[in-house]
């Protein structure tokens, strides 16, 4: 993976032009909300992957990278919006690489050098855009519903393929199972057909051989001893003679068909069937009379149908992507509300089933009679076809059950067979009887030919059914093995993540949660996440833990997941304002966690809390010069940094333009910012404010007083050591400081409102210029005057509160505060 040395951002998001030097080390971006921090995060993500997830994820509506990544004033020039990254690749012997990417050609960055090994590293990065952790992910990991959390974490761990394969295997298994059932039915029908042709009640090999051998003996053919897969029932029969009958209808077959049809009619019109139909009609009438119950049955049936159509990872109606198990669970949960409706519907459908089967049987039998009728009783054919046409919707209505009105109409007269049908059957029967009886030999020949024909049909159906059964068994078995094995692997992964997460969290909360543990519990499509709460048991993170603890959990979980996902390749991460609620007491531990557990990972952290930034610096997570502090943002100029030299130039330029308002505003905001820093560095006592909002009047006087006291203390210490020259110099510095303070008139604020900073914006440029100059002089007293250092003075402290010295970063200033 990579380390970022430097980033230059041009005309991108809210930034006009900005260069930040990370030096391959941890870096912090600090600033109030709306000052451009997220622009830096977006630029890093865009530069490294060509994408900005905030502009391309769900819920972004009409916002797009192409249209909205460029600065608003360059929206029509996406080629101007670009990010240039200077990278170092540790795995390639710290090779330096420059990557430049503009929004117009987001997928075609210019990479120098573009050797295959460099491209491979950058491609890996494109494939792992999860190096940015924002509050969105943090919430998704910690506080989301188990299904959503599972989605997010699976996406982070690249587990989508695991789910996709499970879905594909399930789809295949379902389809094979359906085919197996359908082909089994076809096979059973073919078997029944054969049995009827053989004129035996059940298809058994011995009985088949016996029946066939009777006919073969009549024909003088050798008997069959066994029935193999290729045995021909009419083996040895004179070829070229399909049937001895000269008529178009085979009398034997037609007689058999007539018998079947009459039996089917008789079964449908028995007293029992008629009574069943009447009872069902009464019950369904009562059901449909209650609109609430009828509606429940309709909804329940719809949901049942929906479940049967869920065979892939998408809604069967609108194709919205879903995890297949989550969608099934959702529909099943809805179905539970209709348990009574399910019972009612299932019971009625079960009673309708035999009636539907009788109708289907009759329809099949009449189809055969209709075929004969077309040859030997044509004038009666329409009677049969008319009835069969009417029968089809009845069968469909009874099978579908809904709508109930159609079921009721069908049930009303389903057992009444029109007399025309009986007439047609009688006519066909009469015509069949009229066909001359075949001789015994002809009958035997016809028998063997018909049975062989049906045997072939049955064999083919049985082969298809067997193959479908094998496929279904294999597909089911493969699916079962996959589910079991992938679950084992995932459980192992989650266990590792769980252990690492717990370890990290204990590290940062060792003072009060040293026995903390967590449980990640995967189940079909979900990922439960419970955390231990002070020995009281495991609960969801949001149940009892504070927001600050939850933030800490989110970061720990992210780090554990990244460690599991990338291992030693986890060299770069952006933590975008994700630690804002971590309390002061645990910030140092968070810094130590990142420093000690991830020494090879470069973190870019953003925060709107400047105290947090100070913690990062003082804990050594961020180098003294490895941060940027944005003061404000304007659409014309983008984020403004708190850089001293730029501030005074900015004020001078504003005054030259006569813009006192801007000059006053910049000066006041800068002084508030810098004197807060000075108070922090010098441990100046400031009157506490609950809301943490300190104005210039709150921080400037205490900072100056504290610095003066330090200089005077330094003078006394120098005297105690006999260093009179140093003592004199310090006394001189204290006087100069006091003079600068007086020159700024800040000592008069309390008694002279006319010179108060609230009034600066009302001054003329001529009046405000000396004010700015005076404050420039005053502020400079708190900085090292060496150009290469230019750092703020700070107190070197031996904990808890021993002030050792006043120093600057370069060591030029080192005022001893420890007396002899």
């Amino acid at each position: 993976m990579i380390l970022v040395e430097e980033i230059t951002i041009e005309e991108f998001r809210g930034i006009r032009k900005l260069t930040l030097s990370f030096k391959g080390k941890n870096f912090a971006v600090c600033g109030p909300n709306g000052t451009g921090k997220s622009g830096v995060v977006d630029a890093l993500e865009f530069g490294l992957t060509g994408n900005i997830s905030r502009l391309s994820g769900g819920g972004t509506g009409a916002i797009s990278l192409k249209k909205h990544a460029p600065h608003v004033d360059s929206r029509d020039y996406p080629e101007k919006a670009k990010v240039t990254l200077s990278l170092r690749i540790p795995s390639l012997k710290d090779k330096r690489v420059t990557l430049e990417r503009n929004v117009r050609d987001a997928n075609a960055p210019t990479i120098t050098p573009s050797t295959p090994e460099v491209l491979e590293v950058l491609k890996q990065l494109e494939n792992h855009p999860e190096f940015v952790l924002s509050r969105r992910e943090l919430i998704a990991y910690v506080l989301a519903q188990p299904g959503k959390r599972s989605e997010e974490i699976q996406a982070l761990l690249r587990l989508d393929q695991v789910g996709e394969l499970r879905s594909a295997l399930k789809t295949l298994s379902n389809a094979c199972s359906k085919e197996d059932i359908a082909l089994k039915k076809v096979s059973v029908e073919a078997r029944d057909h054969l049995a009827r042709a053989l004129e035996i009640p059940e298809l058994e090999t011995e009985k088949l051989i016996e029946a066939v051998n009777v006919r073969r003996t009549i024909l003088g053919l050798t008997t069959i001893e066994e029935l193999a897969g290729t045995t021909s029932l009419h083996d040895g029969l004179k070829t070229g003679t399909k049937s001895a009958i000269t008529f178009k209808v085979n009398k034997t077959e037609a007689t058999s068909d007539l018998k079947t049809a009459k039996e089917a009619m008789a079964k449908l019109t028995t007293a029992d069937t008629t009574k069943d139909c009447a009872d069902l009609h009464t019950q369904i009438t009562a059901l449909s009379a209650d609109p609430t119950v009828a509606d429940s049955v309709s909804r329940e049936k719809f949901l049942q149908t929906a479940i049967s159509f869920i065979s892939e990872a998408a809604c069967p109606v609108c194709d919205t992507e879903w995890d297949i198990d989550t969608l099934r669970d959702l529909v099943e949960t809805k179905l539970k509300k209709f348990e009574e409706a399910t019972k009612t519907r299932t019971a009625l459908e079960k009673r309708l089933e035999p009636i539907t089967e009788l109708l289907q049987e009759l329809d099949g039998a009449l189809a055969a009679i209709e075929k004969h009728s077309k040859t030997i009783a044509t004038e009666h054919t329409s009677k049969l076809s008319t009835y069969r046409t009417a029968l089809t919707p009845k069968i469909k209505a009874l099978r579908n059950f809904l709508p109930l009105t159609e079921t009721l109409i069908s049930l009303h007269d389903v057992t009444v067979i029109p007399s025309e049908v009986a007439e047609a059957i009688a006519a066909v029967e009469a015509a069949v009887i009229a066909i001359p009886e075949p001789t015994q030999q002809e009958a035997a020949r016809d028998y063997l030919i018909l049975c062989q024909d049906r045997l072939e049909t049955y064999r083919e159906a049985a082969r298809d059914a067997k193959r479908a059964e094998e496929h279904a068994t294999l597909a089911q078995s493969v699916y079962d093995v996959y589910v079991e094995e992938s679950n084992k692997v995932l459980e192992g992964v989650y266990k590792q993540v769980e252990d690492e997460f717990g370890g990290y969290y204990r590290f940062i909360n060792n003072d009060d949660e040293g026995a903390f543990s967590a449980k990640l519990t995967p189940s079909m499509g979900k990922l439960g996440f419970d955390v231990e709460f002070y020995g009281r048991g495991h609960f969801p993170p949001g149940a009892y833990h504070s927001e600050g603890h939850q933030d800490g959990m989110g970061v720990c979980l992210y780090l554990a997941l990244m460690q599991r996902l990338q291992g030693s390749n986890f060299t770069f991460a952006v933590l975008d304002d994700v630690l804002m609620s971590v309390d002061t007491g645990h910030r140092r531990e968070v810094c130590n966690l990142l420093k000690e557990h991830f020494p090879n990972t470069q973190f870019v952290l953003t925060t709107h809390d400047e105290v947090w930034l100070k913690h990062m610096v003082s804990a050594g997570l961020i180098g003294a010069t490895n941060s940027v502090h944005f003061s404000n943002w304007t659409p014309d100029h983008g984020p403004a940094e708190w850089l001293s030299r730029d501030i005074w130039t900015e004020i001078d330029e504003a005054l030259k333009d006569g813009d006192v308002h801007t000059a006053a505003s910049v000066l006041r905001h800068y002084l508030e910012h810098i004197f807060k820093d000075i108070c922090h560095n010098l441990r100046a006592p400031v009157e506490f404010k609950g809301d943490g909002r300190y104005e210039l009047g709150d921080v400037l006087p205490p900072a100056v007083k504290r610095f003066k006291d330090i200089l005077l203390d330094g003078k006394k210490v120098a005297e105690s050591w006999g260093r009179t020259d140093d003592a004199k110099l310090l006394e001189e510095r204290e006087k100069i400081l006091a003079e600068s303070f007086r020159a700024s008139s800040a000592d008069q604020w309390q008694i002279n409102p006319a010179i108060h900073y609230n009034e600066w914006a009302n001054l003329t440029a001529a009046d405000f210029t000396p004010v700015a100059t005076a404050f420039h002089n005053l502020v400079e007293k708190f900085f090292c005057n060496k150009t290469e250092c230019a750092g703020l003075y700070y107190l070197a402290i031996t904990p808890p509160k021993t002030f050792d010295a006043l120093r600057c970063a370069c060591g030029e200033t080192n005022i001893n505060l420890k007396k002899k």
């Binding site: 996709e164 394969l165 295949l172 193959r467 294999l474 093995v481 084992k488 692997v489 995932l490 996902l565």
Partner: protein, 65 residues
């Protein structure tokens, strides 16, 4: 023209899961040919689509599924 994008070989946790799955399939007595075809499809080619899995399991295509 075939516009289908080639899939990348599987890596990371998915690869681990798929490998365990294939080893266990062989242990369960599933034909080595089937296992080899599945390996080629899901690990080497990174293709876990319905069609690819069907072709790997039933290469003779004699199913209406």
């Amino acid at each position: 023209m075939d516009t289908k994008q080639p899939n990348n070989p599987v890596t990371g946790v998915p690869k681990q899961a798929f490998e365990h799955f294939l080893i266990e399939l062989e242990k369960k007595g599933v034909s080595p040919d089937v296992v080899a075809r599945l390996k080629k499809t899901i690990i080497d080619q990174g293709d876990v689509s319905d069609g690819a899995i069907k072709a790997a399991l039933f290469p003779d295509n004699n199913t209406a599924v």
